[in-house]
């Protein structure tokens, strides 16, 4: 190998122009390698994105002529009670799921790392719901929550709590809570595994030193675990916030935003506005596109606020 290196280098030194074309050739390959990705991106992401901006500034039902109306759609949102309700529900859903799906997985991971028999089995089983589609999850829990024959009501009756039985998804008071439990079930294992990986990165010596200094378990948790897991926690919270604001599948298949809009979120409201098949309702694409941008803006705001609060650690991204 060595013999082939030396003549090659000397050849390069002699002929400087060859070096330039060599660089240009590598650049050419660079462009060639990214070309398909960039093309796909331009056609199926960038172009639709700018088109969405355009649509949001028009009144349009999909079959008629597009009429430019400026920011009218966005202004109309402000006086639309259904929009406000969807926004409120979205924020409630996001707040509660972010809280639950950050604190519980953190505690479970801290518990799980303390060397248990069968720890791998627990992690494997907890992760199982994570890989399953939210559609399947939603349809499955739809049956579990069934008011007449659902296994949840059966279990409550069995435990002597028959008075609590309920048509969980048909009652405006319980529909959101029921869906939030489903969200928790489906994502718990994912966040546990993330925190678990983070915990494995904390040196055990820190805890040993703390023990020597007489720190109790609670102090170790608040003074070692939580601060050192902060970057991971930030990521988990951002994933939760974005996921909560974008939530669609699970609500659409479980309640379609009902009953009586009690679980209507921005995603389901957008979908109903854009692709409604109900008689009397005509699709209004401009308005739906405007809702889409509200979702986007909320995602950006949520992330920025989160990074502000936790003092954005750029190195984890």
């Amino acid at each position: 190998m060595k013999s082939s290196v030396i003549p090659d280098l000397s050849a390069r030194k002699q002929r400087q122009p060859f070096h330039m074309t060599e660089r240009r050739r590598r650049a050419l390959y660079g462009y060639l390698f990214i070309l398909p990705t960039v093309l796909f991106f331009l056609v199926f992401v960038a172009y639709p994105f700018f088109q969405a901006i355009g649509i949001s500034l028009t009144t349009w039902h999909g079959f008629d002529k597009q009429i430019f109306v400026g920011l009218k759609n966005f202004k109309s949102l402000f006086s639309d009670p259904l929009f406000w309700l969807s926004l409120k529900n979205t924020l409630i859903f996001t707040l509660i799921t972010t809280g639950l799906q950050t604190i519980l997985p953190l505690l479970i991971a801290v518990l799980l790392i303390a060397r248990w028999r069968g720890e791998v089995v627990v992690r494997t089983i907890m992760f199982l719901p994570v890989i399953i589609s939210m559609v399947v999850v939603g349809l499955l829990w739809h049956m579990i929550y069934d008011g007449n024959f659902g296994v949840l009501n059966n279990a409550l009756t069995f435990l002597g709590l028959g008075s609590l039985t309920h048509a969980w998804l048909a009652d405006p008071h319980t529909v959101m809570g029921s869906i939030i439990i489903v969200s928790l079930w489906a994502s718990l294992g994912f966040y546990v595994v993330i925190f678990f990986a983070g915990l494995q990165g904390i040196p055990v010596e820190l805890y040993e030193v703390a023990s020597i200094d007489g720190a109790n378990t609670w102090q170790k948790l608040t003074h070692i675990t939580v601060p050192l897991l902060w970057p991971v926690t930030t990521v988990v919270m951002i994933l939760n916030i974005i996921g909560g604001i974008k939530v669609f599948d699970v609500i659409y298949v479980m309640s379609s935003g009902g009953p009586d809009h009690a679980s209507e979120v921005l995603g389901t409201y957008l979908y109903a506005t854009a692709f409604s098949n109900q008689a009397g309702d005509i699709a209004s694409l401009g308005y739906a596109a405007a809702i889409g941008f509200v979702i986007l803006i909320l995602c950006v705001i949520g992330t920025v606020i989160q990074l502000q609060i936790t003092g954005g650690r750029a190195d984890v991204y």
């Binding site: 082939s4 290196v5 090659d8 650049a27 390959y29 660079g30 390698f33 990214i34 398909p36 990705t37 796909f40 991106f41 056609v43 199926f44 992401v45 172009y47 639709p48 994105f49 088109q51 969405a52 479970i108 801290v110 518990l111 799980l112 790392i113 303390a114 248990w116 627990v122 089983i125 890989i131 399953i132 589609s133 559609v135 399947v136 829990w141 049956m143 024959f149 296994v151 718990l188 993330i194 055990v204 805890y207 378990t217 948790l221 675990t225 990521v235 994933l239 974008k246 669609f248 659409y252 298949v253 995603g267 854009a274 694409l285 739906a288 889409g292 979702i295 986007l296 995602c299 984890v316």
Partner: protein
Amino acid sequence: MSTNFTEGRISKFDSSGKNNQLMRMRFKITRMAGYMILILLTIFSIFPLLWMVLMSLKDRDETYSGNFFPSHVTLSAYQFVFSTMNIGTYMKNSLVVTIATVLISVFLATLSGYAFARLEFSGKQLIFLILLTTLMVPGAVLIIPLFLLLRDMKLLESLFGLILVYVGGGLPFSMFLMRSFFQSLPAELGDAGRIDGASELGIFWYIMLPLARPGIATITIFQFMGTWNEFIFTNTFVHVDANRTLMPALFSLMGQYSTNWPALTAALTISIIPIVALYITMQNQFQSGLTAGALKY
């Protein structure tokens, strides 16, 4: 709960010093409580799935009996699912779309991820940043224009249209993961190949690709899961029954056969088999890959 957080990790240390019986008792109790919590969590996670599988093995008459276990196991629901619900077609469509999407996007993401990590060309950083910012754009923003785009391309109702949309949507993220993976490989490998006279394509194909296997496994899992489980796009772009994929089909079957629980749970069970099979065979990559991907995001 707060008493047993880190007990296990430092137990060696504690017990060596003080052989206090009271301490040991306390330790035993907290360990017991810990096991209880873990067992309950495991039950919480597995119970709905267990219920689903057991329900699918029941006779239709037994649906509402309230028995947890079927009094006699029958596969008649599975027969019904294939003969009447036509799930074989939906399954085939989902497999075609998913495998095509995974193959195309993994290949293209590996190419572009490598270029962004290891090749020098002007405008690289800018193009990369533009691709990256779109990770924030929710599908809700794109769904209307994508619908119109596919309509104009005469690709509504087709599996091919779905594949194109999925590849376009998944590529930036997969590219991003592959880029950081290639950055973690030593750059000298490529230089060594260059010195030995390999072409850029040869370096990519013979040197980088074999080394990139763990990264490729990660994005394969991401793409497979994302495509197999995707709902809103396929539910919007394809309505012809012959071209339906599994997720929207399951949703409409739920409405059609809302009382036939053994059949519905059988359909749900079948629908998760490919992804669970993938999970069982690539379990470690699943957990490490998905979390690593999330942390990079």
